[in-house]
């Protein structure tokens, strides 16, 4: 059996490496992380060669330890030791790309150089002499076009052949034939270094190690463990070179490498004279896109497009999300273009499906309200066990004639309020039901969706009916439908908006615009300790915090990336919007600005939090330089954008499924059982485990104005998924019958505080600005790359949310005349400390 061949794919950023990788591996890819760092690690199987693994290295410019990417790449190349290197090179910028190639060649591994974008090179009228380059760099050179899927496979297959041959002919202990690129005295010093380290390194890579020692690369010198006397001897040689050439060792190597490449290019590259110094199309586009006045409006316009796509009403993201949540995952939907008004004879004839549902909801509400009133009347004065619980077949006409159910309404699912009148949005639609109206209402049957078009049942409906058919009991049904499926559906329901955002971002990244955004925004965001690239995560955060945190990956500067991860989720996400909508409807009808203010508060936290963090020891230090290559604009391929999108989406789905699913089952369990494992009815929630757990931690919320088990339970369950705060609140505030769940919530806040509006505001802000849901927290931990930083982020977010709620409630109560207490003093002191953290002098200044 033949051993598998491991090939490293290496090249500059923007050289088409990912495109080539996708083209030669097809769908067999595995995405993970390099150990210990948040740099994406991708490998795949070469198409048609089960025994060949392609390891995609991050895009790098050099093998010096400048960035995490470079460290990761060189550690892989020199320590794990691939069998061969596939070096992709941008043919339109070959001089700069060869800087990395010369270093790769020094590793002494079989190497094929795939010169990419040959179609563009030809179109430009330039000529590259592959023969000469191959002879000089001692490797094979092949022209390819990754975008058009030309030549990539041939290059890879040629390399496999070379690697297999090399294994037979020479092992790692053979001196390789590598190019000598430096001037006499430097080569002399390198030869000396090679001599002193020859027992410590694999011989084939000895030249690479020697050059690194010459450059005084600390990591390598430490690893080789060269003796003090030996090192002193080497140091003398290096100093001689530095003296002779009047530069430091590292600069000498860089310069001479480029000089060597220049000589090679003089012989092998013929540029089309007509093109020299002219502006490319890309330059012309940049004249507008990075223009000092136009840059910002163009950027804002692209934000608007994304906004529309992802979260705007009637935008594709929202339409898809609504479809997924309300139809696909729930009851079902009508196939597009088949929906029509009801044609069947009967009560609904001529009505559209939605109208029919609306009518039935009202009839159903009338029916159950009247039945309830009737049963109450019948049961009046009867002993507990003599009470009738279900409607009898025969209704007592005499009693029935006297029954009128007052103020019947249909409840809005989102806000918990009675649905408003059709002609007046401010007035709830209430009506009375007498016996005649009841009899009429009882005749209506639920509209059959298949009478309104081609009906496709939703996943939720299918599960329910499958369980009913299987004849399972109600407990199991509730566990599966409300507990398990509810959790999974939450995760799946967010996929459309995340998909749309990821797709749009992948498009912007692949076409080259994202690099410009970073360039434009860097000036502004630098002041808050962030980077130009921090803007994108915050934007994504409006839709969902999970992809927002993941999008922070693109930020190279570690401090700025960490800060972005900590701050991005303060932008109220889609799930938090559900909380805002409910509280705005229940408590702030006259204060319309409260809902909009939440976005402003989020942005203020980001700015002020950024300023304060930047002044701490952990984030201090000016990242004063900004250097970024702007790739030429080009039309991305659909398959490229798709790969990009799917790789990110896959991660989200797996993570969310693994975290949310068990959490929802657990929540269902503690809501429906007491400590003795007795199943509880909905009204018995005060006996539940959840009640006790909530009671134990309720004191934590006392300073915030909602220190009751209900407030605690709702806030903690919101960590599973933020919109759970509203759902739990509805379930735990059961009380007086005959009013909407919205009224229950209003009564609840009135019962626990003399200032119910402030307590409600405090509860809402606490849930908006404490750490995001547990999926986002899990992703935060992963992206931070260490437990310590993960906890730091959570602690910071917890602090901000708690202090905000505390201040809003206690200072609000103070201004409303509710008096001064110990917690008011604490609130003022903490606020003063926060202000000091923002305005004080920074660390080390």
């Amino acid at each position: 059996m033949s051993k598998s061949v491991k090939i490293a794919l290496a090249g500059n950023p923007n050289s088409g490496k990912t495109t080539l990788f996708n083209a030669i591996t097809g769908s067999e890819q595995y995405v993970g992380n390099w150990p210990g760092v948040t740099v994406e690690k991708k490998d795949g199987i070469l198409a048609g060669h089960k025994d060949v693994i392609i390891q995609d290295l991050p895009g790098i410019y050099s093998l010096s330890p400048y960035s995490i990417e470079e460290k990761v790449s060189r550690r892989f190349l020199v320590e794990e030791g691939p069998d061969a290197i596939l070096n992709i090179v941008d043919g339109t910028n070959i001089e700069r790309n060869l800087y990395l190639s010369t270093q790769l060649a020094e590793l002494g591994l079989p190497m094929v150089m795939a010169v990419n974008m040959m179609d563009v090179v030809k179109k430009n009228g330039d000529k590259i002499d592959f023969e000469k380059i191959a002879r000089t760099l001692r490797c094979e050179v092949v022209g390819i076009s990754a975008l058009r899927n030309e030549g990539g496979m041939e290059a890879a297959e040629k390399l496999v052949e070379m690697a297999k041959k090399a294994v037979v002919e020479k092992g790692p202990d053979k001196l390789p034939d590598v190019p000598h690129v430096f001037s006499g005295s430097v080569e002399h010093a390198i030869a000396h270094i090679e001599e002193s380290i020859q027992d410590k390194v694999p011989l084939r890579s000895i030249r690479w190690y020697a050059i690194k020692v010459f450059e005084r690369d600390r990591e390598i010198i430490k690893k080789l463990d060269i003796g003090v006397g030996e090192m002193k001897h080497i140091e003398e040689h290096i100093r001689d070179c530095e003296k002779e050439l009047g530069d430091d060792a590292e600069s000498i190597i860089t310069s001479q490498r480029y000089e060597f490449i220049k000589r090679l290019m003089d012989n092998s590259l013929t540029l089309n004279e007509n093109r020299k110094g002219k502006l490319t199309l890309s330059d012309k586009i940049d004249k507008f896109v990075t223009h000092r006045i136009l840059a910002l409006p163009i950027f804002i316009l692209s934000l608007c497009v994304m906004w529309f796509l992802a979260v705007a009403e009637n935008g594709p993201g929202t339409v898809l999300t609504d479809w997924a949540n309300d139809e696909f995952l729930a009851d079902g939907w009508h196939l597009p273009f088949t929906a029509h008004a009801c044609r069947e004879e009967g009560k609904y004839k001529g009505m559209a499906f939605e109208d029919a549902q609306g009518v039935f909801a009202k009839k159903d509400a009338s029916k159950s309200a009247w039945e309830k009133a009737y049963l109450e009347k019948v049961n009046e004065g009867k002993a507990g066990d003599a009470q009738v619980e279900e409607m009898p077949e025969e209704i007592d006409e005499q009693i029935a004639a006297t029954i009128v159910a007052k103020d019947v309404f249909v409840e809005d699912e989102e806000t918990g309020e009675p649905v408003a009148k059709e002609d007046n949005e401010d007035e709830p639609d209430l009506w009375d039901v007498d016996y005649a109206a009841y009899k009429e209402a009882a005749e209506w049957e639920e509209p059959d969706p298949s009478n309104f078009g081609v009906w496709v049942p939703g996943v939720g409906a299918l599960i329910t009916s499958a369980l009913e058919k299987a004849g399972v009991n109600d407990t199991v049904k509730s566990l599966v439908v409300d507990g398990a499926w509810g959790g999974v559906a939450t995760v799946l329901g967010f996929i459309p908006v995340i998909f749309v955002v990821f797709f749009f971002l992948a498009f912007l990244e692949d076409c080259g615009y994202m690099a410009r955004v970073a360039f434009i925004m860097d000036r502004l965001l630098r002041r808050f300790g962030l980077s130009g690239k921090s803007f994108i995560p915050m934007l994504v955060g409006k839709g969902c915090g999970v992809p927002a945190v993941m999008a922070a990956r693109a930020i190279e500067n570690e401090r700025a990336r960490r800060m972005t991860v900590i701050l991005a989720t303060f932008v109220p996400c889609g799930a938090k919007t559900v909380i805002i909508a409910m509280f705005a409807a229940l408590f702030f009808r006259e204060q319309w600005y409260v809902a909009a203010m939440m976005d402003v508060v989020g942005i203020a936290i980001i700015i002020l939090g950024g300023i304060a963090l930047k002044k701490t020891r952990f984030f201090a230090g000016e990242a004063s330089s900004f250097v970024l290559e702007l790739p030429a604009y080009h039309m991305p391929t659909i398959s490229g954008v798709w790969h990009h999108t799917w790789n990110r989406l896959k991660g989200y789905i797996l993570k969310a499924g693994l975290v949310i699913f068990p959490a929802c089952v657990f929540l269902w369990f503690i809501m429906h059982f007491d400590w003795s494992m007795n199943l509880l009815a909905d009204e018995e929630i005060e006996k539940s485990i959840l009640h006790d757990l909530g009671s134990w931690i309720a004191w934590l919320f006392e300073p915030l104005g909602f220190g009751s088990w209900q407030g605690a339970a709702a806030s903690v369950s919101a960590e599973i998924a933020k919109e759970q705060a509203t759902a739990t609140l509805k379930l735990v505030t059961v009380g007086m019958d005959g009013v909407s769940s919205g009224a229950h919530i209003q009564n609840f806040f009135a019962a626990i505080s003399d200032f119910p509006k402030l307590a409600a505001l405090s509860f809402m802000m606490f849930n908006l600005f404490v750490p995001p849901c547990m999926v986002a927290i899990a992703v935060t931990f992963r992206e931070m790359g260490s437990q310590k930083w993960g906890w730091f982020a959570v602690a910071f977010q917890l602090f901000v949310g708690y202090v905000l709620a505390l201040s809003v409630y206690r200072l609000g109560v103070l201004f409303a005349g509710g008096g001064f207490g110990i917690w008011t003093a604490v609130a003022i002191l903490v606020d003063l400390w926060c202000i000091w953290m923002i305005v004080r002098k920074g660390y080390g200044k």
Binding site: R292, D522, S625, F626, L630
Partner: protein, 72 residues
Amino acid sequence: MKLAEMKEGDRARIVRVTGEEPVKRHLGALGFIAGTIVRVVGESYGNMILAVHESRIAVNDATAQNVEVANV
């Protein structure tokens, strides 16, 4: 002359790169070394887009202050 003083459309030869070691090393890998010709393709509030070899590199004001150039 500092690179930061150049105007849009100007060409110059790099004489020396100063500043923090890691940034200098990164600039070197990108081709910012003594002798290389750079051209200012765009400029906005002191931040620049430069043509080096065949690529476009964006640098901010502070970085452009660390690159010494001479007229060609």
